[in-house]
């Protein structure tokens, strides 16, 4: 039986971890590699969360949360994919196929996160003006509350992104499972390798120091030959 509780818990985590992205603390619990296992832990299956987080971690690692450029919302992709994979395991049967299916479906849906985030930051634009008005009335506590309103906006944004990914993702998984589940399960290892490699390639591009490829392939070849010889 599919239960509603995991989705609710997932939503709570979506808000908490989503706030860490920009609004508060920024101690990196919002990174996929941390968010995944955390959500998994709350839902009772940290290893599924670890798989999801590990495959997503590198993809947007170097997109800086700077100024006006808004990176892809990898936190909500992680949270919703983990939640879906765990919540649906009761109906579909758990396994690498379902985890990867949830991940690959949540991945493009995460695009919505960028639009939501933009909307949140635009919504926040009203706060300084409102704060100035309150200030002229001499209400400093109200000004501080207005600042914290921003937290509410960010939380609402995280919740929106999460809900959209989970709703659309759940429908897609349930209707598509008969077609892709077996294929995904047999190809699971290769897909994992491919996702990590995609992340590595973007990182190689983004970690732009001199001789980046030299350092990378140096490390690669040395380890690879060593492992090959030892085998």
């Amino acid at each position: 039986m599919e239960s509603f509780t995991p989705y609710l818990l997932g939503a709570g985590m979506a808000v908490l971890l989503g706030l860490d992205r920009t609004a508060a603390l920024q101690i990196m619990v919002s990174r996929p590699l941390v968010a995944g296992p955390l959500v998994g832990f709350v839902l009772g299956d940290p290893l599924t969360g670890l798989t999801v987080g590990m495959l997503l971690e590198l993809l947007w690692l170097c997109r800086m949360p700077v100024g006006a450029s808004i990176p892809h919302d990898d936190t909500q992709i992680t949270v919703s994919a983990t939640t879906l994979a765990i919540a649906l395991s009761a109906t579909i049967g758990s396994g690498a196929g379902l985890t990867l299916g949830a991940l690959l479906i949540a991945l493009p849906l995460g695009k919505i996160g960028q639009h939501v985030e933009r909307a949140v930051r635009t919504q926040n634009e009203r706060l300084p003006a409102a704060a100035l008005a309150r200030l002229q009335l001499g209400q400093l506590p109200a000004v501080e509350r207005l600042h914290l309103c921003g937290l509410g906006n960010f939380a609402l944004g995280a919740l929106t992104t999460y809900t959209v990914i989970v709703l659309v993702g759940r429908w897609l998984i349930l209707s598509g499972a008969p077609f892709f589940l077996d294929l995904l399960t047999t190809q699971a290892d290769w897909i994992k390798l491919a996702l990590v490699l995609a992340g590595v390639a973007t990182l190689l591009q983004a970690l732009n120091v001199r001789r980046a490829y030299g350092l990378f392939f140096g490390g690669f070849l040395l380890t690879f030959l060593l492992l090959g010889v030892l085998r």
């Binding site: 800086m64 700077v66 100024g67 006006a68 450029s69 732009n208 001199r210």
Partner: protein, 175 residues
């Protein structure tokens, strides 16, 4: 000190400007993390009279750049003179604090072919045209003058953004 852009000898190795950008924040994250590697610059030149007059700010700006990239910070006249000397073949990323500074620099002989619009904050009498850009009437007339001189002006915050002509932005307003 007389600066005449026409007197440069074309046979000398040219100081290559790989990116000229107007950015009120001058040296900051977007420039260092995104643009420097994208255009493979090995020298950052800041042309600003205000910054040149403040030793503390100069020191701090230089400290924000890794040692392998050289930094030259000077007033507009100083920088124009630097370009007219062109004694090396470095790949230069040139930064102006404002459209007015860019125009003045251009008139002093800094060889501009293309100008990138990065960050221009809002303020009184300024119209927001995109997330990071606000134009005043003065800015628009400066862009017109620069373009009449053959300088292409494109708005592009990061290398991953699509370049947009300033006239499209000015006509479209926010959106």
């Amino acid at each position: 000190m007389s600066v005449n852009p026409l007197s440069t000898n074309p046979s000398l190795p040219q100081e290559r400007i790989v990116l000229a950008r107007i950015d009120n924040r001058l040296i900051h994250g977007q420039v260092l993390e995104a643009w420097v590697p994208f255009v493979q610059a090995d020298c950052i030149v800041v042309a600003s009279d205000e910054v040149a007059a403040k030793p503390l700010q100069k020191k701090l700006m230089a400290a924000a750049v890794p040692r392998e990239i050289s930094v030259i910070i000077g007033g507009l006249a100083e920088i124009a003179e630097f370009f007219s000397r062109n004694d090396s073949a470095r790949r230069v990323l040139l930064l102006f604090p404002s459209p007015a500074a860019a125009l003045q620099g251009y008139r002093l002989g800094i060889p501009l072919a293309e100008l990138n619009l990065g960050n221009l904050p809002g303020g009184d009498g300024k119209r927001r045209v995109s997330c990071t850009l606000s134009f005043s009437e003065d800015d628009l007339s400066i862009f017109q003058q620069l373009e009449a001189g053959g300088v292409k002006i494109l708005a592009r915050c990061l290398p991953s953004d699509d370049p947009l002509d300033w006239k499209v932005l000015a006509a479209g307003g926010e959106g």
